[in-house]
Each structure stands twice: as C-alpha cells, then as structure tokens.
C-alpha cells in the first residue's frame, strides 16, 4: 500500500472506532450531542490522522498545528479523537461527564491535554483561532490553525467579526471548516435564519472557499492537506447530522438525543 492509502485506511478505521466509542459514552452518560458528533467525525478523523502535526507527549509544543473545536458540544467526537491520538488513555473515556471527570460536557484545556480552548458557548472558536493565527503571522511560524464550527453556530456575529479580520490580515495559515449539516438545535438552519449562499459570504469577507463532501475521507484529506494559499481558507463540509446510524440521520431531535438500550444495540450493529 502507498502512504496515502495507508493514511486513508487509518482514518477510516479510527473514524469508525470514534463513532462507536462516542456513542457508547453517550449511552452510558445518557447525555451528549451525538448528532453533531457524527456529522463531524470524518472531518476530525481526517485532521488528526492525516493532516495535523502534533506530539501528544508535549501537548503545548509551540510548533504544533492547532485545532480549535468551536462546536464544543460535540465532545464525543473530540474526546475520542484526542484519545486515539495518544493524549490520554482509553480508561478516561469511561468517566465522560461523571462527577469531577476531566471529560466535561464541554472541553476544558486546563485539565484535558490536547484541548486548545474552553468552548461550549458558540461563536468563540474562530475569534480564538484568529488570534492564534495572528501570533503565528507575527512570528513567521509555519504551524497551521484549523477551527471547526457548526453551521447554525455561524448565526453568531462574532464569527463574522473574526472572518473580517482574518480576511483583512490575509491569515493564510488559518482554515475554518464549517460542519454544514443544515440542522441546528431545534430545526433546519435555513428555516431559522438562513445561511445560504454561504460560499459567497465567506468570499466576500476575503476568504478562499472550497466545498467538499464531509464524509469523503479522500476528498477531505485533499482539501485540508492542501498547502496554504494567499488568503484564509474556508472549507464547507457538506455533512449529515447523525451520519452512520440510520435512525439518527438528518433528525434534529438527535442533536442532544440519547439512545435507549435498543437504539444503542441497533447503532452498534450499523456502525461496522
């Protein structure tokens, strides 16, 4: 096998493992946001196992690539990725949302290695990532900064303040990935406060834009791994909320729905 096909096989295997682990954690805790975990799984697996440069034994190494998880509610996918990436042992996953656990309902960088920002309130990740990228620009550093936002999350004005600044400063080592699953908490984004035409919005703010199937590892690897251009890059990843489990796909109620034992068993049969 070539390097690239090895990488793709690793991404595929890890994405499957992440979905199964995340759903097991949500089932045990009877809490979580599995719909948004599953729409983001392939994106995050591609980043951690195909794109980002990091050293789990030195989580704050200055030269590391940064990943900022702006949609902080999707901890099932983030925590399983960081675990598989080697930041902490699998046993930690079992404590998810338990009393005093390091694995909060939303990530905490002060006690969880690999986390860059304490997100949860939406619309914080891109401003922080913009600051990281400005620091890198000042230093002429070669690390890259990636940030994943939800699509509903883009209704927060803070994102557009950051988009304007990043475009203005031509922060070309900054990439935002929009998890475009078209659902927010209660219903569709287009029924709530529409985002379309989304690529045009980002372009107007000075970004280069790529659209990709957010569940196609090869396509994701291609676009996320591509060398930086002249401008900050926005990758609109078209995804399916709840991807991988038939009864969860495209269902708003699985935003923070949690499985009963039967649903859990069925999901485990499908996630193979």
């Amino acid at each position: 096998m070539t390097d690239r096909s090895n990488t793709l096989a690793t991404i595929r295997d890890n994405a499957l493992w992440m979905r199964r682990q995340a759903f097991t954690m949500v089932h045990k805790a009877q809490l979580g946001h599995p719909g948004g975990d599953f729409s983001a799984t392939d994106i995050i697996a591609t980043l951690y196992f195909g794109v980002l440069r990091f050293d789990p034994t030195d989580p704050r190494k200055p030269t590391r690539d940064r990943f900022v998880m702006s949609k902080g509610h999707a901890t099932g996918v983030l925590y399983t990725a960081l675990c598989k990436a080697g930041y902490y042992p699998e046993s930690w996953l079992e404590t998810y949302m338990g009393p005093g656990s390091k694995l909060n309902g939303h990530p905490n960088r002060q006690y969880l290695p690999g986390v860059e920002a304490n997100t949860g309130p939406l619309g914080h990740g891109l401003p922080i990532a913009t600051g990281i990228a400005i620091a890198g620009q000042i230093d002429g550093a070669d690390f890259r900064t990636f940030v994943l936002t939800g699509d509903g999350e883009l209704q927060e004005g803070s994102n557009w303040e950051a988009a304007m600044t990043a475009g203005h400063r031509r922060l070309n080592r900054l990439t935002v990935i929009v998890d475009r699953n078209r659902l927010q908490q209660g219903q569709g984004t287009e029924e709530t406060s529409s985002l379309d035409p989304l690529p045009e919005k980002w372009r107007a703010f000075g970004w280069e834009v790529a659209e990709v199937d957010g569940h196609d590892h090869a396509a994701l690897l291609e676009v996320l791994g591509a060398e930086p251009g002249e401008k900050p890059r926005c990758v609109i990843a078209n995804t399916i909320k709840g991807k991988g489990v038939s009864f969860m796909e495209n269902q708003a109620k699985w935003h923070h729905g949690v499985p009963n034992d039967t649903q859990y068993a069925q999901a485990m049969e499908e996630l193979v």
Partner: protein, 317 residues
C-alpha cells in the same frame, strides 16, 4: 441536555409554570411576544410557537441580536419576553442588556432558563451562577429568583404588568411547592417561610425548600431558625434584612456564586448599615462537571448541609 437530579414525583420543573403563564398572557394581550435563540425546545415553547407563530421571534443562535431585537420590539409597542438559557442570555449579551435595556429603559422581560447549575454535566460554560452578580448593579432591572412553580407564575405575571425591565430565573431543577399558607407574591418583599429567633437563613430559588427542611431539623434540636424567601434580589428587602440582623446571625443560601448575588447583596447591606455575622452558602467559583445532585451536595446545599453550617456558626456542634 443535562438530566435533572432524581427528585420525588411531586417536585415540579418550573419551566412548565413559565410556559403556561406566558401562553395565558399572550391569549389575553396581543402585545406579548417571545424572542428566542434557537431555544424554543429548551424554553418549552413548542406549544407557544404553534399557537402564536407570528409572535415567536427566533433570531437563531445570536444572543446579542436577541437582546437588541427585544429592545426594538419594546420600542415598537410590544411586551417582549426574551427567553434563553440563563448563561448565554446574561453572559453573552451583557452589554446589550446594560445599554439597550437597562440604560435605555426598555420594557423587556428577560427569562433566564435552566439557571444556576441546572446544566450540571455540561460544565461551567453552561452553569449560570454569575448572572445575579452581573445584573444586580443595574438597578433599573428587577431581579427575581422564584422558589417554586407557583412563585414562577406570579413573577412572570408581575413582570408582564410591571413597566420596566425584569429578569426572572426559571429553574429546571425540580422543586416542591413551598409549604407556606396563604401566600401572596410581592416583588421586592421577602416571604417568611419559618419563624425563629436564633438565626436567620435568607435563601431564594431552589434552595428555599432545603433551608426550610434545615430549620425543621434544627427545631427538633431546640434551635429556632427564621427562614426568609428573598425571591427578589434587586431591589433588596432592606427591612427584612434589618430584622434578620437582629437575630445575630444570617446565613444566605443560593444556587449562585456567593460573590455578588443574594449573599453579596445581604453582606453589602449589613456591612454598611447593620453589621452582623453573615455566612454565605452557594458556589465559590467555577464548578467541575457532575450531576445537579452531586454539585449541590459538594457545596453543602442540602438540608443537612445547611443545618450543619448553622450549628457550627451557632457553636452548637
């Protein structure tokens, strides 16, 4: 999201009182509108939205906009009830609350859902224990923390009638109805829950029934504790605090940060006007993850925990 702590059947989720009341108000007054941030479900407003689609303004996930829109709706003659998770409603839009509502004097009702640490497991970003400290210095806003479903309804009705900004906390942590006979809600006035002269507990919200249970425990030990329900944190019922100070010891109890909320208000007022020993119970900073029950226990917010604090302060261990 966070599951409420296991509670007896008779305990009530105050959000049900909130929706029943706002629906009744909207039936009676066409000026009543609700403004939400993708929070129709978490505010239990699905029924309201179905009944009054044109009076349900869902601005999306955009709290600063939500508050500005609330101010604009008030300008246009509406009575807006802006309803969102208390943490985002207050924290994210604090300057809009200050400038657009308090300072501009707009008649907007702020309804803080799932307040306190109701979102236990979701962590400190989602806990709303700083809200009272943030809002209290804006004296134009009446700040109310109802103790149960009945008082939630009364506070929402009072807010609708009152001309001026009001913040009402709505708890999702189930609470029992307070066992106080012949109640009548008076904004800005404390409610006597238990009489006693050895010390006074001043509580509000979800902790009032715990304080009453603590007083009942201590009664059997010969200790007489007065318990006040101080639902209105701002303006503070100074007469009730002055009378409490005469009992020689005040313990404040709240599902909030001990800095700046009810405990802060009582400590400030007594230090300036009627020095007395004040002990503050609540949360002393960001809490870790854990169930509501766990976080209450950790902070001593149980009948036994409050009783223990009183015993210790009275030297009756």
């Amino acid at each position: 999201m966070a599951q409420a702590a296991a509670a007896p059947q008779s305990y009530k989720d105050c959000r049900n009182a909130w929706v029943a009341t706002v629906e009744a108000l909207a039936e009676a007054d066409p000026r009543v509108v609700v403004v939400v941030n993708d929070s129709i479900g978490s505010s239990k407003l699905n029924g309201f939205a179905a009944k009054f689609p044109d009076r349900t303004v869902n601005v999306g996930i955009a709290e600063q906009l939500m508050i500005g829109v609330g101010a604009g709706l008030a300008n246009g003659g509406k009575i807006p009830f802006v309803s969102a998770a208390a943490c985002f409603l207050t924290g994210r839009a604090l300057e809009q609350i200050k400038a657009d509502i308090a300072y501009s004097g707009y008649n907007v009702k702020l309804i803080g859902q799932s307040s306190g640490i109701a979102y236990g497991e979701l962590g400190a970003t989602h806990h709303s224990i700083e809200d009272l400290a943030w809002l209290r210095p804006m004296q134009q806003i009446t700040v109310i923390v109802p103790a149960d479903a009945w008082e939630t309804e009364q506070a929402i009705r009072w807010a609708a009638d009152h001309e001026g900004p009001v913040f009402v906390r709505v708890s999702r942590t189930p609470v029992p109805d307070l066992d106080v006979p012949n109640r009548s809600f008076r904004a800005g006035k404390a409610e006597l829950v238990r009489e006693g002269g050895d010390a006074t507990v001043i509580a509000n919200g979800t902790t009032v029934h715990l304080a009453a249970a603590a007083a009942d425990l201590l009664k059997s030990e010969g200790i007489a504790i007065r318990v006040l329900n101080m639902a209105t944190v701002s303006p503070l019922d100074e007469d009730a605090v002055a009378a409490a100070a005469k009992t020689g010891l005040i313990v404040t109890v709240e599902e909030a940060n001990i800095c700046g909320g009810l405990g802060g208000a009582v400590a400030e007022w007594t230090a300036a006007n009627h020095p007395v020993r004040v002990e503050r119970m609540g949360f002393d900073g960001f809490r870790t993850t854990g169930s509501v029950e766990h976080l209450f226990e950790e902070a001593g917010l149980t009948a036994e925990g409050i009783a223990a604090r009183l015993r210790a302060a009275l030297g009756r261990t």
